[in-house]
Amino acid sequence: MFGVKVLVERIDAARLSDKANENSPSNCSLNVSMSERERNPEALVLSFTLELTNQPQLARLAVSGIATLTGTKEEIQAALSAADDKNPPLVLTTIYERTYSLFYLVAGSLRVPSPLPTLLKPSGSEKK
């Protein structure tokens, strides 16, 4: 049965503007970096870093860790592929969903706007 386990190893956060508050208008961007650590036919271990930034710059939040995908070769491959260029792969959506509460809590503590829980409008995702 397919499953994804997410382990957060590191959280970095910094408030970058004195004037920012929860309602400050801004656009959030999520910079994503994922790379394969280990793979066998039933499991794939990925390192990931999700970095949330705002425009104008209000704060920087970054979460790093490892995600372990278990399932058949086909299920794992399907989780790594996006339906089309405009959508992120399932694995990224899952990692973001599982770490969203951290982003929400830290953003609230830094008194900067929280990101939306769903990934929207991918702009220039590049799969290597």
Binding site: N27, R39, N40, L52, L80, P88, L119, S123, S125
Partner: protein, 153 residues
């Protein structure tokens, strides 16, 4: 079902993406066999010692009856179980030896000229590693890397 005594002796093909993974699997397999062998041997040994060394008779049950093609023991469960454990120990001995031998010579396999993207099929026969197929057709998936930027609103 998990066996109460003994190990599940798989027959089949297992796929691996690297020889390191094959070696790790063989080590784990051997470790499992050795632990189970030691456990079962100790059980038999302690029974023989506690019975004053009366030889093998102490673990031979007379309560077996043949029902169809199956032997059923309804009157002497303790000795019946011990007799079977003894049989398992005897069956495990060559399995442990063969797996040890495969692992000992595995350096030679690692020294073969094998393409980087090859995968490996290990054939186990009743739990014993017998053959290794180097598969250059069903190769390893490409290494996954994703770098991107997503707007979240």
């Amino acid at each position: 079902m998990i066996p109460e005594t003994g190990v599940s002796a798989t027959s089949g093909l297992l796929r691996f993406y690297s020889l390191t993974d094959v070696r790790r699997y063989l080590k784990e397999l051997l470790d499992t066999y050795q632990k189970e062998y030691d456990k079962s041997s100790n059980l038999i040994g302690s029974l023989l010692r506690s019975d004053g060394g009366k030889s093998m008779e102490v673990i031979m049950s007379k309560g077996w009856a043949k029902v169809g093609s199956l032997f059923v023991n309804m009157s002497d469960s303790e000795k019946g179980s011990m007799e079977v454990v003894f049989q398992i120990v005897n069956e495990m001995k060559p399995r442990v030896a063969k797996t040890e031998e495969v692992l000992r010579a595995f350096d030679s396999v690692e020294g073969l000229p094998i393409p980087d993207d090859a995968t490996f099929l290990l054939y186990l026969r009743a739990g014993v590693p017998e053959r290794l197929i180097v598969d250059t057709i069903n190769t390893k998936p490409e290494k996954f890397i994703l770098n991107g930027r997503f707007k979240t609103g």
